[in-house]
Symmetry: C5
Subunit: 95 residues, 5 copies
């Protein structure tokens, strides 16, 4: 999984029928020092994450095991809202 | 998923039989500021996207859940035409 | 999928039994301007592509949907020989 | 698989229900000379690895074959605690 | 697939039970000119490759089609020992 921060949203009217009702979040990956990285991801949100929250993102076909993602062509999903990230006993992030 | 802009097309006569009728789009990935990135992708188009439109691309085996992609050797598919991308309440793209 | 040019071949006598009869091509990825990129791939060839031809490569588990690849440990396959690549009405490649 | 060193943990209260009880480790990838690399990963820990230990990480849908990971949306798992890494008869790491 | 050279081994006592008996090789990826690249991989060896031999590596869930890898959490496997690599009629490697 990767650590990411929620930055915004993508809205689409015309899409695969199975994607009706799926919320798409724009995520920015964070490095382990808590700094934003250059690359980003758009992920299906099933846990109700909000802008600026840190989340865990799961990618690839395993994303299908998120509730209701099974038969959808979704290759990334937010699977958890992060409370804390601790690196060698140092707190990098606290919600 | 990744955000990309439709740039062009790839045409092939001699191909896997299961790919008959599949339209291949050349996509350029966009960063979250709306700037084009260096890498690109060729994806199966099942939603009728046109040149210059922004789309969502799903990659890997989950692309098989796009209508009619099930048994085809397609590792990337356009799954939605984007209406808007919003980053921290700022509009990055509007169709 | 990615656009690549066929550069050469890999020959192996001692291999997984299921790979008997599979031809391995060395491919060089091309950028959308038609310039060669640094990274390369070795892919199973099921369409009979020859050196210098441009092809479409599908990677990951979807490569299994290429004829006869189903139960083989192949993570990349040539799925089409490209006739033309067109970027914003400009021809980048013509066979 | 990739070689990584355990750096810390991620804690989450609000997550996919199937993730209850899964421990998330922050891992830093190591190069073959034993030096830390820039990229990191968050992986499910099923083998009880501790901070500073070197581990093997398996990514993608194969991670599901780790005990109890089958139906969870986990795209990376610690599959082994490393005893030794030997490169051309030179010991790079010894636990 | 990728071309790699066998550099060494990883030994682990404490690991997923399904990994008993699997030999892990440290591989260094090679570019098409036969020069070593920066990134490496740890792969399950099912073909008996030795140090300094060039091999083909298959990654992702397709690695499961290697004999005896089916239910193991292995995301990379050595599938062939390379005899020759030929690029545009020039021999890059000969065993």
């Amino acid at each position: 999984m990767r650590i990411a921060r929620v930055r915004g949203t993508v809205v689409s009217t015309y899409k695969e029928p199975s994607l009706q009702g799926v919320k798409f979040l724009v995520l920015q990956y964070m490095d382990e020092a808590g700094q934003p990285m250059a690359d980003h991801e758009v992920a299906a949100d099933m846990v109700g994450a909000g802008v600026d929250e840190w989340v865990l993102v799961s990618r690839g076909s395993q994303a299908r095991h998120v509730r209701d993602c099974g038969d959808r062509p979704v290759d990334a999903a937010v699977i958890a809202i992060i409370d804390t990230v601790t690196i060698e006993n140092r707190s990098v992030y606290r919600k």
